[in-house]
């Protein structure tokens, strides 16, 4: 906001409202400031503030301040009755020496890895095939996206029923037709995590398919024409034209999927509650237990310390990833 407005709207003589001057105010007296306020209001400064109020209030109270407060709280001991006290790095020490932490980190990474194995190639292949459908492409898209619109809680509860470990559970019945099983699914320490990942992939893959499909359909036809003139067959056109054009999208969905799956909460919480024998205990489940768990609970310092460390880890991971891949991405 410029402080030197060449305005003839002087009028006033008393220096009131000097404090309301927004932005920079020059080293001038009250008269000048008064003039600034009038200028500012006339130029729509006030209505800008009024229109920005919902955003500033909502983001301030429910986003910006909680983010800052999270960092502050990770260095404090907070309980709901007294004032918080500063404890230095003690929350971090507490979390890092928690005997459950290595298991939770391992499980979380395992979940992320499995989710990549299941969830990265399948949508890509699906989208590549779908992009060559000539009629009823809309039908394919709707079918692929349908699981995404099912409420996640419903999906988990339904799959929990499918995963029934008895011989007449839904999946065991189906697998029984081809002579497999019965499997214990969620109550087996080795199968529990893959079961969660399978459901999570089912629930999320459709969104990725649509993203890839949109990217594939925006590949300029001229590139395919040129490749064909050069004698490239269909397979080589996919490999040497489509894939390089998708590179940017593929790089981003890769890191976004890792960021998303590392924060998995719903599946382990509702399917297994971390069991059996801690086989599906994840980092977010730990954060939840620290803060709101039935037995522990109320350890807000530890919860915020772990979530701040997780956020820092993800930020560093993304930075390193984008540094490493910036050379590969041509755009």
């Amino acid at each position: 906001m410029s402080s030197s407005g060449a305005l003839r709207h002087t009028g006033g003589d008393a220096a009131t409202g000097g404090n309301h001057t927004p932005g920079t105010d020059g080293p001038r007296g009250g008269r000048g400031r008064r003039r600034d306020v009038v200028t500012w209001v006339q130029r729509g400064g006030l209505s800008s503030v009024v229109f920005a109020l919902p955003l500033l209030l909502i983001f301030g109270i429910f986003s910006w301040w909680p983010i800052v407060r999270s960092v502050i709280m990770s260095f404090q001991k907070t309980n709901l009755v007294g004032d918080p006290t500063w404890v230095g790095w003690r929350n971090f020490e507490y979390v890092l020496t928690d005997p459950d932490l290595p298991n939770a980190i391992g499980n979380t990474l395992y979940f992320a890895l499995l989710a990549l194995l299941f969830g990265y190639p399948i949508p890509l292949v699906t989208a590549v095939l779908m992009s060559s459908v000539r009629r009823r492409k809309g039908l394919y898209s709707v079918l692929a996206y349908l699981p995404v619109v099912v409420p996640p809680v419903v999906a988990v509860l339904l799959w929990k029923f499918f995963y029934d470990g008895a011989a007449d559970g839904v999946f065991n019945t189906i697998l029984g037709y081809v002579g497999l099983g019965p499997y214990a699914w969620l109550s087996s320490p080795s199968l529990a995590m893959p079961s969660l990942v399978l459901e999570a992939t089912w629930a999320a893959a459709g969104g990725t398919v649509i993203i890839y499909l949109a990217a594939l359909l925006s590949v300029p036809d001229e590139l395919y024409d040129a490749a064909e003139v050069d004698g490239a067959g269909i397979w080589r056109r996919v490999w040497h034209v489509s894939m390089p054009q998708l590179r940017g999208v593929l790089l981003i969905t890769f890191i976004l999927q890792i960021i998303g799956t590392v924060q998995v909460f719903l599946e382990p919480y509702l399917f297994t509650g971390g069991g059996p024998a801690g086989a599906t205990q994840t980092i977010l489940l730990m954060i939840y237990d620290y803060a709101f768990g039935r037995s522990l609970g109320g350890n807000y310092g530890a919860a915020t310390a772990l979530s701040v460390m997780l956020a820092a880890f993800l930020a560093i991971l993304s930075l390193v990833y984008f540094k490493l891949t910036s050379g590969w991405s041509k755009s």
Partner: protein
Amino acid sequence: MTGRHIPEGKRTTMTVTNPTGQRPDTGPAAGARGRAPGAAAPSGPARGARTASKRKASQLDGSTRGYVSAQDWRNPRVRMTIKTLHGILLVLLLVVGVGPMLLLAKYAITPTQDIIRTPLAIFPNGVRWANISEAWNDVKISRYFLNTIWLAAGSWFVQMLVATTGGYVLSVLRPAWGRIVNGLVIATLFVPSVVLLVPLYLTILNPPLIGTSLINNFFAVWLPSGASAFNVVLMTRFFDGLPREVFEAAKVDGASTFRLFWSVVLPMSKPILGVVSVFATIASWKDFLWPMLVLKDPTKQPLSVRLPAIASQTDLGVFLAALAISTLIPVVFFIAFQRLFLSGAGLGGAVKG
């Protein structure tokens, strides 16, 4: 200001979102009102990009060249192979995508004994419609259903209010401090939501200005939902693409700031209002952890929180009927507004990128 000078690529995605499918170049020339934002495309390369993106938008159902050329399609062997692959894909999508939904619909009207003993048999002992009525009345799904709708409606309102007014300030009014606010909004996109969990919970326990706990109050869900940077970014980018000449003309005609917002900017932004509305409603319908934390009174809880809680004490058939009921609305919504959903999903990738 980021996003003020939108790179061409971003503009293209903007036009793709236009779910009305209007063709701006030939659209009714009845003034700017109700027209797609692309209508006032400036001359030069931007126009070319827009036309290209128009073609792209229609590709979702039309046929294009793609990696299979017309010549390939004429080759019977290639044709057969690709058609077979498409057929397999369609069957797989039906089994994987629709299969579980069909099973759920079947269980909703199957007696519990049959569900447990023969989960895949087709009504061996008839149909039990009572599952649905018992779920609706006895398990009080009707109440939780109403709570869910009420929560979604309020969240929608708060998100729209914040996103439209915020986008208006950042894109149209453009005060000097706007760039700082914009930066702060975008910065929150990079903060994982789990960081907010505990401090936000304490804020709800002891909110500023109000002085009384918001636990068990719908505002505890409604207000935080408004802090969606994604919505604000979408809205700002869309407003950036609107023709500024129209704003200037409205100002010359003496329109106030509010009038400009309400009668010019909003009517021109129907496509993006639709996309953000869909996002807002669906996100609220899906939300689980946050409503569970702040709505502890069971009579206030939405379906997503209530369903896991009642799972163990409810008859299986009735419970699965309850699951089916809570799936119905989002699925019907999706089928009805599929274009909006799918363009929104594609856009989600574009913005995150």
